[in-house]
Subunit: 422 residues, 2 copies
C-alpha cells in the first residue's frame, strides 16, 4: 500500500485512528483561534505561494541556508524552494505594494513551511506557522503591540502565565555590549551565535567561541545576569504593564535569536514547565524589506512565528484541547420507508436553517440509526411519524435530556433552531 | 525587485492594490462558506501533504500524466510531485485507516493543487479546490447526497438556478450504449474521450474519432438528445426532487468526464450564462480505492472538486462578493498623551471581550486618528476623557449614527459589546 512521504503529516477527523497521524479537528481549532485573535488586534490575513525562487532565501540568509531548504529545480530549470519561512515572502509582497496600504501594515498568515536536511530521520519536513508582522513603524510601541498579540494568542488557547512567559532581549543591547568590549565588526555575528548556544553548547565550547572574538564568558554571564533593560525594552515593558500583561514578560538576555537579520528587540515565548522549550519567536528586522526589494523600499518591520507542532504538544500535555465531535445538530431517523422522501425534505429544510444534519443514506434498522445518532453526539433526533388522521408530525428528542416534543413538520426547523445552543 | 514565480498567486487584504494580485479576504470568505456548508451536510475535514510520491499519480492515471504534473526529484532522489488533485491522497488515507470510521465516510478538504505544463504561458500553476467525497456507499442515495451538497455550496454563495445547473450523466449509460453498438473493449476509453470533446472538437474530428471505434455521430447525437435517464439517474433525480432541488439538475449525456477512473454517475456544475463553463465536476470512482491500496481495501466511492478560480470570477461577474472591510469594531482615540496608558488598558479590555480594536500606535493628530477610524469602517470610536472632578470617563461614538454616550471606563467593554451587531 502506498504511504505518504517521510516527514509529512496526514490530518484525520477525530477520533484519530492511529498515533502516527494528526487531528484535522485540532488543526482547525488552532487555526481558527489564531485567526480570531489576530483580527481582534486588527491584523489582516495575507498569503503567498508555497514555492518561491531559491534566491529569495539565499539573498536573505546566504547560500549556507540551502542545506536546510526543501529546494529543487523546476521543469523550467529554475532553482526554487518550498518556503522555509514566511518573512521573505511577506517582505517581497509588502515591498511590491506598500504604497496602497496605510502604515503601519499589520498582517498575519498561517503558512505551511518546509525544510529538508539530508540527515534528519524521523523529523518533520513541514509544519504550519502563525506569522504576524508589523511593517512601517519604528517605535517600540509596535513591539509591544506585537508581543501583546503573542500573549493573547496563547491565552486564547487556555494557556496562562503559569504555562508560558515571553523572554525579551535586544540585539541593540548586545551590540552595545560587543562594541564596548572592543569586538571587531567581522566577529559580531559569530559572537551572537555563541551567545545563542549558551546552555546548549558545553561550557568549554562557549568559552572557546567567545574567546575567539575577544570575550570572556564571565563578562557575558554577568551582562545576562544583570539583565538591565535598555530604554527601548523599558518602553515595551511599561506598555505591556499598562495593558495588564506584565506577568507574561521578562527581560532575558540569553535570548538573541539565531538568524542574522534581526536588528532590535528580539523575543521568545517559552514553556515554563518544559525546560524552556520555545513556543514562538520573533523580533525586529528593520533592514530586510530594503534588502529584499533591492533597496527600493526601506521600511522598519518586526514579526513573530509560532509553529503548530510544539504548541499542539503543549496543549495536549496541559489537557487544553477541547473534545472534538462530528458537530451534528440533528440526526433524522427514517424508520418508515414510505416517509423517506418526506424525511429528505425535512433534512433539506433543517440544513437550510443552518443546522448540521445526518441521516442514514439507505434503510437501516431503527435501533442502529439511533445508536449512530448517539455515536455522533447529535444534539437532537427528529423523526417524522404518521398521526391518527393519516397526516404527519415531527417528533423531536433532545438526546441529552431525553425530552421529547411533537410539532407539525414545517415547524421543526425553527423549533430545533430555538432549542439548540447557539 | 524579486517577484513571485510565474503561475503563482499572491493574496492581499482588500482593497487589493493591483489587478494582478488576489484578495485574501475573498479567499477566506469562500473557504469559510465551503466549510460551513460541508459541515451542515455532516462532512468532516481532512488534509494530506502537498507533496506525494509520483507513483501515487502514475498508478492512477498512467505515465502520460507526468507531462502535466508539477513533479521533481527531491533531495533523497525520490520522484515526487506537488499534488495535482486530492482524490489519490484521499484514497490512500481512507484505505490506510478506513476500519476506524463508520461507513459511509463523508469527508471534505480544501487543498491547494498544482500543475506544470511546459507550454502554458500566463496560465496558473496552482489553484485551491473544495473536495467532498463519500466512501463506502454504493447506493445512488449517496450520489444524491453529494450532488445536494454541491448545489447548496453554490447557493450558500448567493448563486441561484438562474446562474448554474448540475448536468447529470452516467458512465454506465454510455457503457451500455457502447456495448449495444458492438464496441470493442479496447476502444471504449477512446470513445469516451471523443464524446467528451463533442462541441469542442470540429464536427469532422468527432466523426473521425467515433468512426475509428465503429460508431456514427448521428447515433451518438440521438442518444444524447433523447437523454433517457437510467434507473440509477432516475433515483438521483427523484431524491433531489424530494429535497426541492429538482430545478438545479438535468440529465445531459454530453457530460462524460475526461478521466479514465469514473465508473458510474458523473456530473458537472456549469455556469448557465457563461457558455457552459464548468464550475465543478465529479462522479463515482468505485475501483480507485482498491487500485491505490494495492487490492487491500475495496470500497465504492464518489466525489467532486470545485476550484476557486472559475468560481471567484463567476461571483465577481454576478456581484455576489460582499464588500470586505478591516472588521474593526472599535477605534480607540488617544488625544491626550497623559491618558495613553489608560487608553492601552481600555484597548486590552475591549479585545478581551472579543472586540476587534485599532488605535494609533504613536501620537497622531486627533483629526487624523478620526479619519483613520472612518477609513477602517470602524463601528465605534472610544475616547477616554477627564471629567470635572479629575477622574476619567469613556466617550463612545457610533460612527454611522453619530450617537454618543459617556460611561465609566470599566463599563465601556460591556456597553460596546451590547451596542455592536453580533
Amino acid at each position: 500500500m502506498m504511504d505518504r512521504l517521510p516527514g509529512f503529516r496526514d490530518f484525520y477527523p477525530e477520533p484519530i485512528p492511529h498515533p502516527d497521524v494528526w487531528s484535522s479537528d485540532a488543526r482547525h481549532y488552532l487555526f481558527s483561534s489564531w485567526r480570531t485573535t489576530a483580527r481582534l488586534y486588527g491584523f489582516r490575513e495575507y498569503d503567498g505561494p508555497p514555492v518561491e525562487s531559491l534566491e529569495l532565501y539565499t539573498t536573505k540568509s546566504g547560500s549556507e541556508i540551502v542545506g536546510q531548504l526543501y529546494n529543487f529545480k523546476d521543469k523550467g530549470d529554475r532553482e526554487v524552494s518550498l518556503r522555509p519561512e514566511m518573512t521573505p515572502t511577506l517582505a517581497r509582497m509588502a515591498a511590491a505594494h506598500e504604497r496602497a496600504y496605510k502604515k503601519p501594515i499589520k498582517w498575519f498568515a498561517i503558512p505551511q513551511l518546509f525544510r529538508y536536511e539530508r540527515q534528519q530521520k524521523g523529523r518533520l519536513r513541514e509544519h504550519f506557522q502563525f506569522n504576524a508582522d508589523i511593517i512601517g513603524e519604528a517605535d517600540p510601541a509596535a513591539d509591544a503591540e506585537l508581543i501583546a498579540l503573542l500573549v493573547d494568542s496563547l491565552r486564547a488557547l487556555g494557556l496562562t502565565s503559569g504555562d508560558f512567559k515571553i523572554r525579551l532581549s535586544s540585539r541593540n543591547a548586545w551590540h552595545e555590549f560587543y562594541t564596548r568590549g572592543n569586538g571587531a565588526p567581522e566577529g559580531e555575528y559569530a559572537f551572537y551565535q555563541a551567545v545563542d548556544k549558551i546552555g546548549r553548547d558545553p561550557l568549554e565550547e562557549t568559552e572557546r567561541k567567545l574567546a575567539a572574538v575577544g570575550f570572556r564568558f564571565a563578562a557575558v554571564r554577568d551582562f545576562i545576569e544583570k539583565g538591565e533593560p535598555t530604554d527601548e525594552l523599558r518602553k515595551v515593558l511599561d506598555n505591556l504593564d499598562a495593558r495588564g500583561l506584565s506577568e507574561f514578560a521578562q527581560v532575558d538576555y540569553h535570548v538573541i535569536r539565531g538568524l542574522a537579520y534581526y536588528t532590535g528587540i528580539v523575543f521568545e515565548a517559552f514553556d515554563v514547565q518544559g525546560e524552556l522549550r520555545a513556543i514562538a519567536g520573533g523580533g525586529r528586522y528593520d533592514n530586510l524589506v530594503k534588502l529584499l526589494s533591492g533597496g527600493k523600499v526601506d521600511l522598519p518591520a518586526l514579526g513573530f512565528g509560532m509553529g503548530d507542532v510544539v504548541l499542539m504538544e503543549l496543549l495536549k500535555s496541559r489537557n487544553l484541547l477541547p473534545q472534538f465531535t462530528s458537530g451534528t445538530d440533528v440526526f433524522v431517523l427514517i424508520e418508515d420507508q414510505s416517509l423517506r422522501f418526506e424525511s429528505l425534505k425535512l433534512v433539506q429544510a433543517l440544513r437550510s436553517e443552518g443546522l448540521a444534519v445526518e441521516y442514514s443514506l439507505t434503510p437501516m434498522k431503527p435501533d442502529k440509526q439511533f445508536k449512530r445518532a448517539l455515536e455522533l453526539k447529535s444534539g437532537f433526533s427528529a423523526r417524522i411519524e404518521r398521526d391518527a388522521s393519516g397526516g404527519t408530525m415531527a417528533r423531536l428528542k433532545n438526546l441529552k435530556t431525553r425530552e421529547e416534543s411533537v410539532v407539525p413538520v414545517p415547524e421543526a426547523p425553527k423549533e430545533l433552531q430555538r432549542k439548540l445552543p447557539a
